[in-house]
């Protein structure tokens, strides 16, 4: 990777991207920074507030701090639950996909379908589908004798949101893993067969190492997306019962639009953004380091 020619004129080719991203990311971010150090009264009255919001936010003994800490814990728990289910499941399904033939195209199209449904429609489908009286999912769970009630019982609400996310986004992991598997030359499998390698050995010694790159992408993308989940829980549970499914994004919108507390919401979103970036940076660096060691 280090044999690339140094050419600082390459910046010119990156320039169009920079202009778009400056417009759609840096300017709004500066607005958020601006809000975060002010207090708002009414629509257009702003007062200098310094770092008070940040201090309140990071101190769990205040009301705002406790709320933020709660939402943060819930969001992390949600992200890890989803990743722990989706990544293994996605790999398993990708291994089950045929490598050639007419079934490949059809399976891929069907698998990708849930990802192409607008998020509010996803919420709407599950609003009905999870109901015990008229929805298949709710009716099946109740039929099995489980106590299941999305609007009353926090466990049910959690299960529902996780199931929705697994249904909605495991396909992305499947597509990525399948792409990674397809990139393994047939010769590797032939060599393994000659050596009499077991199925597990083929998986752990050939397939998994080759999948590492795409799995990093899948994990990063899925972490970012689950960490900022908004539409589905809002539509299906509304963040409840109580605040059991109130994730960070939901709390943020409640504060920003519900209470019109722009300062608090802005400070919250900056901290929130920094957390995501920090987690991804650690992950990204760790994986690229591993990669370099693997190549050497």
């Amino acid at each position: 990777m280090n044999d690339k020619p140094v050419n600082n004129r390459a910046w010119l080719m990156v320039l169009p991207v920079l202009m778009f991203v400056l417009f759609s990311s840096v300017i709004p971010t500066m607005t958020v920074v601006n809000y975060s150090i002010q207090d708002s009264m009414g629509v257009n009255n702003f007062f200098w507030n310094g770092d008070a919001w940040f201090r309140e936010l990071l101190d769990p003994s205040t009301e705002l701090g406790a709320r933020f800490a709660g939402a943060l814990v819930r969001t992390f728990a949600f992200s890890f639950t989803c990743l722990a289910i989706q990544i293994p499941l996605g790999i398993a399904i990708a291994l089950c996909l045929p490598r050639r033939g007419w079934a490949v195209g059809l399976s891929l199209v069907l698998i990708a379908l849930p990802m192409l449904i607008p998020w509010n429609v996803v919420g709407m489908i599950w609003q009905i589908f999870a109901r015990a009286d008229i929805g298949l999912f709710g009716a099946t769970l109740t039929g099995l004798g489980l106590r299941y009630n999305v609007t009353q019982d926090p466990v049910s609400a959690w299960v529902t949101i996780v199931v929705i996310d697994v249904w909605h986004w495991t396909p992305l992991v499947v597509l990525l893993s399948y792409a990674g598997l397809r990139a393994i030359p047939d010769a590797y499998y032939q060599a393994a067969r000659i050596d009499g390698a077991s199925r597990w050995a083929v998986f752990s010694k050939i397939e998994l190492p080759k999948l590492r790159k795409v799995l990093v992408i899948a994990t990063l993308l899925r972490f970012m997306q689950t960490f900022m989940i908004y539409t589905e829980p809002v539509v299906v549970t509304g963040g409840g019962p109580g605040d059991s499914t109130t994730f960070l994004s939901i709390d943020l919108v409640k504060i920003a639009i519900g209470q019109v507390d722009l300062g608090k919401a802005a400070a919250m979103s900056l901290v929130y953004n920094l957390i995501i970036i920090a987690v991804c940076w650690i992950f990204y660096t760790a994986m690229t380091q591993l990669d370099r060691r693997g190549d050497a």
Partner: protein
């Protein structure tokens, strides 16, 4: 390859589970509201296309569908166009700050839409783009441009560098080489990238509904409006939901052969 019976059964089971909620949606769209609410029905008793007819006869639905397709198309074209040279630069050259710039671009994928809703509202209001398809198309560039750079960079890396050098020796100027030789070589990559841009722009709702008020209402906003107006018209919403899946299904059918190669070459 080693395809036994078990993997096939697992795959079929997974596909069935995956399709069940979608089947439920289609089935709801063919039933009347009273029938939906009356109880669990696995198969619609008297399927009716009334709701689809209602949607196709209502200009506000059709207009909204056009708006959604318009901003998704604009966004996809912009994202792919600006990302192409950048992806080439990131893959072929090293320049001051390249790695940090690349990661910084990725951080925009992590920017929660909820955070940007208020600033975007102010920004697009100030520049006079509020309530136009351009506002949504540009707002979606926030995550689609970095995503496009990321995917395309992998595809650029799949083209051997010797091709660039040979073209230079043959006397091709850089722009001519890029357009005449290089772009056809990564046509698959462009297709896959366009698919992902299309997908993420098509499914995003929060920004799309916040940045519009009446002229450029996207499909999703018309759906939320019909929520409150007539109680819960589940069957109409379901029909609209089914229609929102069609453009995506068409697009994925075209790229199905290449989608599997999508990120395989990608770097992290």
């Amino acid at each position: 390859m080693r395809q036994g019976i078990a993997p096939r059964l697992v795959l079929i089971l997974y596909l069935v589970l995956l399709m069940l909620p979608i089947y439920w949606l289609i089935s709801m769209s063919l039933r009347t509201n009273a029938d939906i609410m009356s109880g669990l029905v696995l198969w619609p008793r008297d399927p009716t296309l009334v709701k689809y007819r209602a949607i196709f006869n209502d200009p506000s639905w059709l207009h909204a569908f056009g708006v959604s397709l318009a901003y998704v198309a604009i966004n996809t074209v912009i994202s792919v166009t600006v990302a192409l040279p950048a992806a080439y630069a990131f893959n072929r050259f090293s320049f001051i700050g390249d790695k940090h710039l690349f990661f910084w671009l990725l951080t925009n994928l992590m920017a929660p839409a909820a955070v940007y809703v208020m600033p975007f509202f102010n920004l697009y209001y100030a520049v006079g783009l509020f309530d136009t398809v351009w506002a949504i198309a540009l707002a979606h560039c926030l995550f689609n441009v970095p995503l496009a750079v990321w995917i395309l960079e992998g595809f650029v890396g799949g083209v051997p560098r010797e091709i660039d050098e040979t073209a230079a020796i043959d006397g091709y100027s850089f722009p001519r080489f890029f357009i005449r030789i290089f772009l056809p070589l990564i046509a698959n990559g462009i297709g896959v990238t366009a698919f992902f841009c299309f997908m993420f722009s098509w499914v995003e709702q929060l920004m799309a509904t916040t940045l519009t008020s009446s002229n450029a209402l996207p499909f999703a906003a018309v759906m939320t409006r019909s929520y409150s107006a007539s109680g819960m018209d589940w069957s109409l919403l379901a029909a609209a939901g089914v229609l929102t899946m069609i453009p995506g299904a068409i697009v994925i059918w075209f790229v199905r052969k290449h989608i599997a190669k999508g990120f395989a070459l990608g770097r992290v």
